[in-house]
């Protein structure tokens, strides 16, 4: 029996070997390995390759997996010489015309889509891309490095919120109360124990009774009332506010990556901010502008991007919208009460306020949270302190008196409050 099985295994191996053999024969050997160079040299060449890859190749190629073009990992195994591969990169059509069988095959396989010619890349640069960066990526060297670099910021946690503190104080307060009452009970019992034969308690000075003066008790009561009152009022004011609110979203979209690392402008996606009341949550059409091509992210790989495909009905294999799109139910973070009218364009376009003033450094947030308290006091304060773009906007020319005062030097600036920005009907109607 066992012999028979071993024989079968050997047979399979032989078949496998036979299958690989022709390709193996075609493949060229990498001219570089990571062993025969110094670490610094390797790092430099990997870095150069990465830059070149991002600039020239990434729109159509991934290291692993198909995009517009084939996967880059192990490309060398398909070519019979390094020179041919370099030539393919520099001008693929020449190679196709020359009738190279593999070049023709790959050209036909990808619907005769012509790969752009990269004549500007030197042979050495192509080697940097293919033999250093791609190899490094494939071996996981690059990813490990990036993970180390990104690791620090990933573990962001929500800020300690008011209610948590409040619970802590309550527990401490309750414990203190229990301690005091226990102390009172024990001292009472103690007093009973030390009763004299005639029923008169034996005068005994305890530590507790020393402190048990009227003055001290009333001070304690006052402190307690002030402490509790302060917390109740503070809690009541905070009712309905949710600074630091950081809900989980249906897709783990990272502003840190998009706005921070990739430096995509806020208004590329939030298109309404300069023209509408709403900044607008982008529709999937905006996501798909890039994510038709970018199919993998640095942190979650393909899993999160696959969710966009699921929602939008995009089929990455056939590169088309196959299914009906479904809405993404994002959780709204910045909520104003219904009786408040806020207009983004007034602040962004007219006021020239940075998004970060109210939303915080979103470009550093892996998961977005509510930065500002969004309370009326916070709004009003800003309106009192912020200057209006008075000089450059003709609309404000009607405020002749202010212009005169500025000319005469009687007035340095005009704040939002000066032109009525703290009046009720500016936001409540």
């Amino acid at each position: 029996m066992s012999n028979c099985r071993n024989g079968f295994k050997i047979f399979l191996l032989l078949i496998a070997f036979a299958t690989i053999l022709p390709f193996k024969a075609q493949a060229y050997n990498l001219s570089v390995t990571f062993d025969d160079l110094s670490d610094a040299d390797i790092a430099a060449r990997v870095e150069e390759g990465k830059k070149l890859f991002k600039a020239n190749c990434a729109a159509c190629h991934k290291v692993d997996g198909k995009l517009t073009g084939p996967a880059m990992a192990d490309v060398w195994t398909h070519w019979d010489s390094q020179a041919k591969l370099i030539k393919w990169v520099q001008n693929s059509q020449e190679l196709v015309k020359s009738g190279d069988p593999y070049a023709v095959k790959i050209f036909n396989e990808y619907n005769k889509q012509v790969m752009s010619a990269f004549t500007q890349l030197s042979d050495d640069q192509v080697i940097s891309i293919i033999e250093y960066y791609v190899q490094a990526e494939q071996k996981g060297l690059g990813k490990a490095k990036e993970a180390v670099a990104a690791g620090g910021g990933a573990e962001s946690s929500g800020p300690s919120s008011g209610p948590n503190k409040w619970i802590l104080f309550t527990v401490i307060g309750a414990l203190a109360l229990i301690a005091i009452s226990l102390f009172a009970i024990t001292s009472k019992l103690d007093g009973l124990v030390h009763q004299g034969a005639d029923g008169e308690p034996v005068k005994q000075e305890s530590l507790f009774s020393k402190f048990q003066t009227k003055k001290l008790v009333s001070i304690l009561i006052i402190v307690g009332v002030v402490f509790l009152g302060y917390n109740i009022v503070k809690g009541a004011i905070d009712l309905g506010r949710s600074q630091g609110y950081q809900p989980e979203q249906p897709i783990k979209f990272s502003h840190a990556l998009h706005a921070g690392q990739n430096k995509i402008d806020c208004q590329y996606c939030h298109t309404g901010a300069d023209k509408s009341r709403h900044s607008v949550i982008p529709s999937m059409a905006v996501c798909m502008n890039c994510h038709k091509y970018v199919q993998e992210g640095p942190k979650y790989g393909e899993t999160e991007i696959a969710k966009i495909y699921e929602y939008s009905g995009w089929d990455p294999v056939s590169s088309s919208f196959k299914n009906a799109p479904k809405p993404i139910e994002w959780v709204k973070i910045h909520n104003l009460p219904d009786h408040v009218y806020f207009n983004h364009s007034q602040h962004v376009k007219v006021g020239g306020i940075e998004c970060q003033t109210c939303h915080g450094n979103v470009q550093e947030m892996e998961v977005v949270q509510q930065f500002a308290p969004l309370s009326m006091g916070w709004c009003i304060n800003c309106h009192r302190q912020t200057d209006v773009q008075f000089a450059n906007n003709d609309y404000y020319s009607i405020f002749e008196r202010y212009h005169d005062e500025i000319k005469k030097g009687e007035r340095a600036n005009v704040t939002v409050a000066d032109i009525g920005g703290t009046e009720c009907a500016k936001c409540h109607y």
Binding site: K275, S283, A285, M288, P327, K332, C424
Partner: protein, 1035 residues
């Protein structure tokens, strides 16, 4: 004896002690607390334990409510079709889109713009680019956006009450039609007037397929007599365009051309164009009106005379004879009209003095009367100058004779009801009901289960017009488009598409209207390329109407056709009329229209018997009820009777009563229509080729019963206090001021003489408000206001003003931010009428602001009296202290918007209560909840939006950039709004350079930001009560 010049009721005129007490009260009725508390819970039985129980409950309820988690809100972006090839332009949430389309209902037509937000239509505006009207609509057009979100609409085709699919309906109906047609059976399509070119094309297709088809057109309120008379006079069966702007003398005979009749919006625009005298051009037209009931048109007239319907012909004949005597035309038989002869002589003299610049018009559906007006107009040479027959109207094409013939036809095998409800609103309702029930096939295209649709086999519901495509030709040479502003809400289909489908022609609405262009009379679509077609659609209309009027009349044929036999008059005569709010009743289920106070009687939610003053007093009707309970009466006419509440209408002709049509609907029409008033269509009679809207020999009987009526003029009374303690009499201000044209010509401050003196004596301890930027102000011209209430409905829709229902209206709790007060002066049997739109006056010295304990209402640097709803705690001190009574308190959660909504709302206040209806709400305006005061904000959301546009464009705000909702709706431009600090603005000119401008209670130094312009009447007599103070001063 009172010095009150103007009164809203006789009690106010006579200043009875009851009235004074009533008017001084903030709320008219005692709080009905004990209605809600039964014996067991009355105060005396509430012990300590009950108190603790309630307290405990309230505290725990509050604790639970406040400890709830903040709800998680979602932000869901739009799902667009991601396929690049069919990508629609992306809509930006928060930015409104406007679509040009058309409103057409009954005799009312407007080219309109529809404001959509996030793809929902939320507001109608007049299309300012459209010719003739240039903005402005009727109240009905304004309210029609709410009808889109009507819960009573049918959601899919029905067969005998069961829901079916369109395929099933199409195949079954087509099969039956084919069978009937093959057998030679008669197919009848009963339609109200339609001037849709697409429908006409579909009807042609239908007729080609089923040649036994006959189309019968009728109108609930018919003007067939005009077309019939014009067939004789003009040789064409048309209704001409009346150019009121070119007329110096207008003589109306029972014709409500500003509120009903036909083409009211354009009439109002043209009429008002020549009714506002200025310093530079101190001229205006003179308007005579002979009326049986008081309409807004007769209320606007300079000279009005009460006539019975049976007298109209005699008066017109007398007028004819008088004019014929001067023009040399043959005269008619002599008539005696006793006391009216003098007025007719005066009118005749003025008409003769203004030949070619006058209009004589009657709305009575009687051929002889129409021939008489035609003859008079022809003698005066008005055809081709003030009456444009080339611009013939296609509205009101109903043929009364055809309907009569149909009703007697027993061979009808199939009936299709196209945009019509003959079982409710036709004169032959019973006979047509018979035809429908006996027919082999009956189909209705009704959008709801109306009185006729209840009886038919199939209902194939039509779209709402805001979901539809269409091409209309309301006037010869004027094409107006209808385009959808929202995707279809329900599984409905446009009637003309259904008609084509029944005829086996599969098509879409869009294709049909494009191809309908081939049939356009002016043939322009063929010459338009695709882009032109689209730009025409974007503009909303194509106008080929000639600027100059044309037309000529055949006088002799007209005169010889007149039957001079006079009708006999006996007993009480009843007039059936279209109310301004509901018209023929098509939109009876629109709660905004039901709640809109009638401009004259100020009642809502019911029709009523309008009684003349003396007649009412003689029949024991108190002049005005102290609460909303009014007596009911019974009218018996030709063995039919109707019981309705009675309301005195000052100016109603003696021995006549008037009742509005359009009420008394069945349950299927919807919750607002059902139970409101009584249907009086059954009283209409067919008389000698036309439908008659009046009848004699009626019996009247006051009943013991009473009815609780929504009456909005018995509260919110502004008082002219003649006995202000420490003020000299010369400072007595008037609320309504008026003068006649002669006085105005001499002095442009006529009627307003006191103002200069008041201003001289005004001093104040207050510092006043600083307005470094804008100072918003409004001016209302009492001269051009016709009381049509379009502004009221426009305000309601723009500002999310709730509908409160009959019960709450009768509880004096009207929520309208803008109301139109109606004032009478003079003889109660035929008084002069003045309308005064009253909204928050935005006083710079506001009495409401000082008394608010929480500073919820305060003043802005732009002159606005602001109202912060969320700061309001509902003390109502401000409402009590407001001299104009314009602050409204939310007694209930009328919109059902807060989390405890629906707790104790009165059942009939819930018209706006479901999610579908709430789609009409304006997202830029807070929906108020229970327990807060609200009031006019000067449309601050529009001010802010226009300012923002100017800021983003980096330019100063121009005059006219900000238009309030009431202003845009007004068909007569009587409301102006703007920045008083802008020296080039219209409002600045009115406030500082118009002698007619005055402010209410100016002597009290409220410094209101709303100005009114003195009403000028074009009468020879000076107003009956002249200004007392001025005379004293002169003395």
């Amino acid at each position: 004896m009172s010095n009150n010049k103007y009164w809203q009721s006789l009690e106010q005129r006579d200043e009875t002690p009851e009235f004074k007490e009533q008017a001084a009260k903030e709320f008219q009725d005692e709080m009905p607390v004990f209605d809600y508390v039964d014996d067991t819970t009355k105060v005396e039985s509430t012990g300590r334990r009950d108190f603790l129980k309630m307290m405990g409950f309230s505290i725990s309820a509050a604790a639970i409510a406040s400890s709830c988690k903040i709800p998680v809100k979602k932000a869901i972006p739009y799902v667009f079709n991601l396929d690049q090839s069919s990508r629609i332009p992306e809509l930006v949430p928060g930015i409104a889109d406007y679509f040009a389309t058309s409103y057409a209902e009954g005799g009312d037509f407007s080219s309109i713009l529809v404001k959509t937000r996030e793809n929902r239509p939320i507001k109608i505006e007049g299309n300012t680019a459209a010719p003739f009207v240039k903005g402005g609509t009727t109240a009905r057009a304004q309210a029609s956006v709410l009808s889109l979100y009507d819960v009573a609409r049918l959601t899919q085709p029905k067969k005998k009450g069961e829901s079916i699919t369109w395929e099933q309906a199409d195949s079954e109906i087509a099969k039956k039609l084919t069978k009937i047609s093959a057998e030679g059976g008669k197919i009848v399509i009963i339609s109200n007037t339609n001037y849709s070119l697409a429908t006409q094309k579909a009807l042609a297709t239908f007729k080609a397929k089923y040649p036994t088809t006959q189309v019968v057109t009728y109108d609930p309120v018919s003007l067939y007599a005009i077309r019939k008379a014009n067939q004789i006079t003009l040789g064409e069966s048309i209704i001409p365009t009346y150019l009121f702007d070119k007329a110096k003398v207008i003589a109306g005979f029972n014709c409500d051309f500003l509120g009903g009749f036909v083409n009211a919006t354009e009439n109002a625009k043209r009429y008002s164009a020549n009714r506002v005298p200025t310093k530079e051009n101190p001229n205006m037209s003179r308007h005579y009106h002979f009326q049986s009931y008081v309409s807004i048109t007769s209320a606007s007239a300079d000279y009005k005379h009460s006539i019975k319907p049976s007298q109209e012909k005699a008066v017109l004949m007398a007028l004819y004879n008088k004019i014929a005597a001067s023009t040399g035309a043959s005269s008619l038989a002599n008539v005696t009209i006793s006391d009216l002869q003098e007025s007719v002589n005066k009118l005749a003299a003025e008409l003769l003095a203004n030949r070619g610049e006058s209009i004589v018009i009657s709305g009575t559906n009687n051929v002889d009367i129409q021939l008489l007006t035609n003859a008079i107009n022809a003698m005066l040479g008005n055809y081709g100058s003030t009456i444009d027959t080339a611009a013939a109207l296609n509205l009101k094409q109903g043929n009364d004779e055809a309907l009569k013939a149909l009703s007697d036809d027993t061979s009808v095998k199939a009936v299709l009801l196209l945009n019509s409800n003959p079982v409710y609103d036709s004169v032959f309702a019973d006979k047509i009901k018979n035809i429908i029930t006996k027919a082999e096939l009956s189909v209705s295209f009704a959008d709801r289960l109306d009185e006729s649709a209840e009886l038919v086999q199939y209902i194939t519901p039509d779209n709402h017009y805001l979901e539809s495509w269409d091409v209309l030709e309301p006037k010869k040479g004027y094409i107006s488009f209808v385009q959808p502003t929202i995707n279809q809400l329900f599984d409905t289909r446009q009637a003309f598409v259904s008609l084509s489908e029944f005829a086996g022609a599969t098509t879409t609405a869009y294709d049909l209207i494009k191809s309908a262009g081939e049939g356009f009379t002016t043939g322009f679509i063929a010459s338009l390329g695709n882009t032109s077609w689209e730009s025409a659609l974007q503009t909303g209309f194509i106008n080929n109407v000639s600027e100059s009027a044309s037309g000529s009349a055949n006088l002799s044929a007209t005169v010889s056709a007149i039957n001079t036999k006079l009708p006999t008059s006996n007993g009480i005569e009843v007039i059936f009329y279209e109310s301004v709010a509901l018209a023929d009743g098509k939109e009876a289920n629109n709660p905004f229209l039901q709640e809109m106070p009638d401009p004259i009687t100020r009642t809502s939610w019911d029709n009523f018997i309008a009684l003349p003053y003396t007649f009412a007093i003689n029949n024991g009707i108190k002049a005005m009820s102290q609460d909303s309970t009014v007596k009911t009466a019974k009218i018996t006419l030709a063995n039919k009777e109707v019981v309705l509440p009675v309301i005195i209408s000052y100016g109603q002709a003696q021995d006549t009563v008037a009742i509005a049509l359009g009420y008394g609907r069945s349950q299927g029409v919807g919750p607002a229509a059902f139970g409101s008033g009584q249907n009086v269509y059954p009283f209409l009679t067919y008389d000698n080729g036309t439908v008659s809207y009046s009848a004699g020999s009626a019996a009247y009987e006051t009943l013991k019963g009473t009815h609780k009526m929504g009456m909005s003029q018995r509260y919110h009374t502004l008082q002219e206090d003649n006995n202000l303690y420490n003020r000299p009499r010369r400072f007595r201000n008037n609320i309504v001021k008026e003068a006649n044209l002669e006085q105005f010509r001499k002095d442009d401050t006529a009627g307003n003489e006191d103002r200069a003196k008041i201003k001289d004596h005004l001093t104040t301890l207050y510092k006043g408000y600083d307005s470094p930027g804008h100072h918003w102000s409004m001016a209302v011209d009492l001269n051009s206001c016709i009381g049509c209430a379009a502004c009221v409905i426009s305000c309601n829709i723009e500002n999310n003003v709730p509908v409160i229902g009959r019960e709450e209206m009768s509880n004096t709790r009207s929520m309208h931010w803008l109301r139109i007060d109606r004032y009478y002066s003079g003889d109660p049997d035929n008084p002069d009428v003045a309308f005064q739109p009253l909204m928050c006056q935005h006083c710079d010295n506001a009495p409401c602001e000082n008394v608010c304990p929480v500073n919820a209402t305060n003043h802005s640097s732009e002159g606005l009296n602001q109202m912060a709803y969320n700061r309001c705690i509902g003390t109502k001190y401000c409402a009590n202290n407001c001299p104009f009574k314009v602050r409204k308190f939310n007694w209930y959660d009328y919109q059902g918007n807060d989390s405890f909504g629906g707790w104790n709302d009165p059942t009939d206040a819930s018209y706006m209560y479901d999610n579908l209806t709430r789609m009409v709400l304006n997202p830029d305006v807070t929906v108020r909840s229970r327990g807060v005061i609200e009031k006019c904000s000067f449309c601050v959301q529009r001010i802010q939006a226009s300012k923002l546009t100017a800021k983003t464009e980096g330019r100063p705000l121009k005059d006219g950039d900000v238009k309030t909702a009431c202003q845009t709706a007004c068909p007569t431009n009587s409301i102006s709004f703007g920045d008083r600090n802008d020296k080039n603005s219209e409002i600045h000119r009115i406030f500082f350079d118009n002698g007619r401008n005055y402010h209410l209670y100016e002597e009290q130094h409220f410094m209101t930001n709303v100005g009114y312009q003195v009403k000028i009447r074009n009468t020879d007599e000076e107003p009956e009560f002249t200004f007392v103070g001025a005379k004293e001063d002169k003395a």
